[in-house]
């Protein structure tokens, strides 16, 4: 017996909805089995997760607070991805943004105007950090996956170095924290919760990026470079410029995410500014297929996971790492399922040999 793979000529529409849904359910089942194996009732765990996210005012606002940075990192991955580039470095770009914003907040604050200044510097820092792999890719064809990832480690250790050393706060005992920012350097919060102004900006940015990539000639150029680099060349579009500019745009957004986290949430620079939002941007971008509006939806799914993940940690002592497992599984199931949208599989028995 032989397995025969044929290209589908037509794909039924429902498959495009069915596959993501089935993938999410399959991943929930798989993680449920893992939970069961370590002695946690998966149904209890999942209900706790849902209740935490939707059952209280705190939960709902937390969901938004955790979704916002994921929207931003999802965009930071999506934009270069449309040009065929993998920005695995959103995590590092976020850390550099957090560093730049904190530096301004702690040392250079002309009080009333400090917030916009923090935003500008964070965005610049993210852009600068993303421009390194962008330029190396454009000029030397250096693999951007490896370079962006290695730069993540550099950025994370840089922030660790600072909060253990030069920027360590005076009254933080042995914690790797800087001092608290002054009130001027903290984003306004609403409803008496942690819901801060940055969340709203994240949503606006997603819509703005949607318009940029669907309604402008720049967005069109990016799409052509991603879909068909040769055609782009004939159309007179500079592939190098698109490579560098999409990376920088992604870095700018991730850099802002860093500012938002330190100014809106932590109110200081600290080690582990992000629990891996930069990496979560990858499954988000894949689920959203590069569409910024879908990025918002996918980000909510993973935001829910982070809220639920921390609820499961406090209630059952389950490590948050389970979120990573879930993310990986969803994507693997989706791309595995994607195969069935493109190909039809049939089993061929011996007599059919050519």
């Amino acid at each position: 017996m032989r397995i025969k793979v044929e290209r589908r000529l037509e794909t039924p529409k429902f498959i495009y909805i069915l596959i993501p849904l089935a993938s999410i359910i399959a991943s929930l089942i798989f993680v449920g089995i893992l939970l069961f194996l370590i002695g946690v009732n998966p149904i209890d765990a999942y209900s706790t997760m849902i209740y935490r996210a939707f059952g209280t005012k705190f939960g709902v606002t937390e969901l938004f607070v955790k979704t916002a940075p994921i929207i931003l990192t999802g965009l930071a991955v999506s934009i270069p991805l449309r040009a065929g580039l993998w920005n695995i470095g959103a995590e590092g770009q976020l850390y550099m943004g957090a560093f730049a914003a904190s530096f301004i907040a702690l040392y250079l604050s002309p009080p009333p105007v400090v917030l916009p200044f923090m935003v500008i510097m964070a965005v610049l820092a993210g852009m600068m950090w993303a421009s390194i792999p962008g330029v190396l890719k454009a000029k030397f064809e250096l693999n951007e996956i490896i370079s962006t990832l290695l730069l993540n480690y550099v950025a994370i250790y840089w922030v660790e170095y600072l909060v253990y050393g030069p920027m360590k706060g005076k009254e933080v005992y042995n914690f790797p924290y800087s001092d608290l920012f002054s009130d001027y350097a903290i984003l306004p919060r609403f409803f008496g919760t942690r819901f801060h102004a940055g969340v709203i900006v994240a949503f606006i940015l997603a819509i703005a990026i949607y318009i940029l990539i669907t309604r402008t000639s720049y967005g069109f150029a990016v799409k052509i470079v991603g879909a068909n680099p040769k055609a782009a060349e004939y159309a007179g579009i500079s592939r190098k410029k698109i490579i560098i500019s999409t990376m920088i745009l992604g870095g700018a957004i991730a850099g802002f995410a860093g500012m938002m986290e330190v100014s809106g949430l932590h109110m200081r620079l600290r080690a582990a500014v992000s629990p891996g939002y930069g990496y979560t941007g990858i499954p988000v971008a894949l689920l959203a297929r590069g569409n910024p509006l879908f990025v918002i939806m996918a980000a909510f799914l993973f935001g829910l996971l982070y809220v639920g993940g921390s609820a499961m940690q406090t209630t059952y002592g389950i490590p948050v790492a389970v979120v990573d497992v879930f993310q990986a599984l969803v994507v693997l199931f989706i791309i595995g399922g994607d195969f069935f949208t493109r190909y039809r599989i049939s089993f061929v028995f011996r007599e059919a040999s050519a």
Binding site: V5, E6, R7, L34, I38, W86, I88, L136, F140, E141, L142, N143, I145, I146, S147, L149, L150, L151, Y153, V154, Y157, W158, E160, Y161, Y164, G165, Y279, I282, P283, L286, I318, P319, V320, A321, V322, V323, D324, V325, F326, Q327, A328, L329, V331, L332, I335, G336, D338, F339
Partner: protein, 310 residues
């Protein structure tokens, strides 16, 4: 003679720290030679590290741990092979998800092993050779996997360059259409190459937890998988060059500890950035130098689907 002692201990430590890098780099060279890119090294390696540690912890025999680590690597590689070779899915995406999966599952299941002690690989002093002053402690007093790693290099070179199977591997990675035409099963060779590579990467992880670090911690591999991906490029996909890269980066890894121990007042956190910056520079250097005769297999990263006529 204090300086010679320092250098001897630095060489010894470089070889020990370089051995996991060597195994993982060799594993990825085999994988990539077949035309399959496995970006999941970091995830495969850490899974090997945790599973290896667990089995040594339970059985008390580090060799069982090493083998178990290898098989864990093989299992994850099988997922990669199934997705990329059988289903022809995007290799980059699958690899990246293996990283997330490996880091996640080890953080999840390895929680109970943090702080535990497992029996680790004991160093073996080679008779007579280890008696040589300085050189003896630097080169001839290691755990057996260090020597095995050194032995694999010429064997792999011979296999890849002088045997029929090596040639087939080469053909599949360079020109799968042509290989297919002459009757070589592209998918089968790729599958075997990915599994073999995964086995070596798993062993690399197990060496990390059972001979180098001697403990299990969350995120133990700390980016070594990515450094090895860069080392593959640096070595030009040649095993004989991989060993230099691996020991060089092993040395870099331990240098920060040694400098700190020597009381030079260099911040530990600052030194931790150095290997990653250095990796990018080395990568850049390799890419610029070999731009014309770049050693990458031509079909690397491209799924092979036999053309169909309707």
């Amino acid at each position: 003679m204090l300086e010679s002692e320092f250098i001897a201990s630095l060489i010894a430590a470089s070889m020990r720290a370089g051995t996991p890098l060597l195994f993982a780099t060799l594993g990825e060279i085999i994988t990539e030679r077949s035309g399959v890119l496995n970006l999941g090294l970091e995830g495969v390696m850490i899974t090997g590290a945790m599973v290896g540690f667990y089995f040594s912890y339970v059985t008390g025999n580090p060799w069982i741990g090493i083998l178990a680590g290898g098989f864990a690597g093989l299992l994850l590689a099988m997922v990669h092979a199934f997705f990329t070779v059988t289903l022809k899915v995007d290799q980059a995406v699958t690899g990246l998800m293996l990283v997330l999966f490996g880091l996640g599952i080890t953080g999840f299941l390895g929680r109970g092993l943090v702080g535990e002690v497992a029996s680790y690989l004991q160093p073996v002093k080679l008779p007579l050779l280890s008696e040589i002053p300085y050189i003896g402690t630097a080169v001839f007093s290691h755990d057996p996997l260090v020597y095995i790693g050194i032995l694999i290099v010429p064997l792999l070179w011979f296999f890849m360059n002088k045997t029929r199977y090596g040639m087939e591997l080469y053909a599949v990675g360079e020109n799968p259409e042509a290989a297919d035409t002459v009757g070589i099963s592209v998918d089968r060779i790729r599958f075997i190459a990915v599994l073999t590579g995964g086995f070596l990467v798993g062993i690399a992880g197990a060496h990390l937890s059972l001979a180098y670090a001697k403990v299990w911690t969350d995120g133990l591999t700390a980016g070594r998988g990515w450094i090895c991906l860069a080392l593959v490029i640096f070595s030009g996909w040649m095993p004989q060059r991989a060993i230099f890269g691996a020991y060089l980066f092993g040395g870099l890894d331990v240098l920060s500890f040694k400098l700190q121990a020597a009381g030079l007042g260099v911040s530990y956190h600052f030194m931790r950035m150095v290997p990653y910056i250095f990796t990018i520079l080395v990568l850049l250097f390799s890419v610029i130098r070999e731009r014309e005769k770049f050693g990458a297999p031509s079909a690397l990263g491209k799924p092979y689907i036999r053309e169909q006529k309707y």
